[in-house]
Structures are given as structure tokens and as C-alpha cells.
Subunit: 106 residues, 2 copies
DNA sequence: TTGACAGGCAGGTAATTACCTGCATATTAT
DNA sequence: ATAATATGCAGGTAATTACCTGCCTGTCAA
């Protein structure tokens, strides 16, 4: 998993909307996705390329159409690496802050 | 929660390293964090400002020092909104793909 | 086989980003 | 008080990003 590509892909509202659109109905064509995006087709293509590079979306050609499918695996890996780790210490944070303000070092 | 700020903040290796450093030892000063970063102090400050704007880090002044603390809440919210949603349909994806390739629409 | 449709390719621009250097301010220790 | 220390502020540059327009290719249906 390339965390950089995944987070950068997610760091744009257009690309998050694309994921939401595919979540509503998986396997949409480029044209269908564009109808919901309010930008030129080529701009949407570039956003999709970034999602594909991050392995968040896979595409399949069918005739002259291109179908798009979500791949949730990188999201799960991001969770395992970046969310769980920090959640574990969630409860200890207020304590850390209080201790530091009181000037006590570890 | 501002998903845009959170994902953009996470979309840079320096900022993710800052979070890892604070995870190892919460409450570090700017100077301590800089020692591990291999860039000018002011560059690090700018990265930290982005983490603060995303509410991933909080700061407290103590004398002439500035202490930095992780806030894991936005990460959890990102998980709730962006990871769980897509995980739910994880198992159905191969089926969607197969069906599309066979040319059957819903 | 020809027209309509779906998508790809190749630039080009304005805004944003990630760095930097130089100087200023505030706090602490001598 | 003064020097050292920790951080803040201002501006400047090169790379990246998010758009666009214009034209080309491949596929399907009449």
C-alpha cells in the first residue's frame, strides 16, 4: 500500500465524490460519472487516474465503454496503519496534556 | 470534521512522520520534532500548522516552548465516514465485476 | 460505410504547495 | 542587563495540481 497515493487521492472533494458515486452504484462508465461532476470530461478522467494509481478504483473496458469499480482494500490498510494506532492512546491524551502543563516530565 | 483538511494533512510524508513522532512521545516541542525532520525549522512549522488546522494536533505554550499533542478524534471520524462505508460492500465487489463483464445490468 | 457515441492524447494556464532565507520577538539563565 | 535559546513573521521560488480546449481513435448501429 502506498499511503502517499491513497491519502493524496482522498485529499480532493471531487475524488471523494467519485468514490461515493461508485459506492451508490458500482461499475459506472466514465460518462455516467461525469454527469454528476460539473467539470470537463478530461478533468474527471485525470481524477480517476489518480484513484486508479492509488488502487482505490479498478477499470474494465467493455466495448467502447470503460467501467469503474471501487476497491476498498487500500482504505482498510490505511485504517490499520493510521487510525487504530492513534485510537489506542486516545484515553491517555488528556492526562499527557495535564501532566505537561504541570511541568512534570516523564 | 473537515475531511478535506484531514486528508490533505495526511497526504504528505513529513506530516505523517510528525504524527508518528508524537505517537512515540506526545507533547514534544517544535525543536525536538525538527531534530527528526531534515528540513528547515520554518518548513516544519508550516507542516505543523496544517496538522493543527486539520485538528490533528493541538499546541500549548509553556514559557518559550511550544508543546505539541496528537488529537486522534479526526482520524476516528475519517474512519467512520470513509472506511466503514466501503468495507461493508467489500465482499460484493467481485460479484459486481463478474456480473458486469457478463454484460448483465442491474 | 458512415455518423454518432465513448473515451484517449497533448498541450497550456492559474492556483497551490513545499521548500527556503533573513530578520524580529519573547523567554530564560548567568 | 545580556547572551543564548525557542519560536514567529515576511517574502520569494520551483514543483505540483486542477482545471481547461482542441483534436484523435476506437466501437457500434443504421
Amino acid at each position: 500500500m502506498d499511503a502517499d497515493k491513497v491519502f493524496k487521492a482522498l485529499g480532493d472533494p471531487t475524488r471523494r465524490k467519485l468514490l461515493d458515486l461508485l459506492c451508490e452504484r458500482n461499475g459506472q462508465t466514465l460518462g455516467e460519472l461525469c454527469e454528476n461532476l460539473d467539470m470537463a470530461r478530461q478533468s474527471a478522467t485525470q481524477h480517476i487516474e489518480i484513484l486508479v494509481a492509488a488502487n482505490l478504483v479498478s477499470t474494465v473496458r467493455r466495448g467502447r465503454e470503460k467501467l469503474h469499480f471501487i476497491n476498498p482494500v487500500p482504505l482498510h490498510e490505511v485504517y490499520e496503519r493510521w487510525v487504530r494506532k492513534f485510537e489506542r492512546q486516545r484515553l491517555s491524551l488528556l492526562h499527557d496534556l495535564k501532566r505537561e502543563l504541570e511541568g512534570e516530565q516523564e
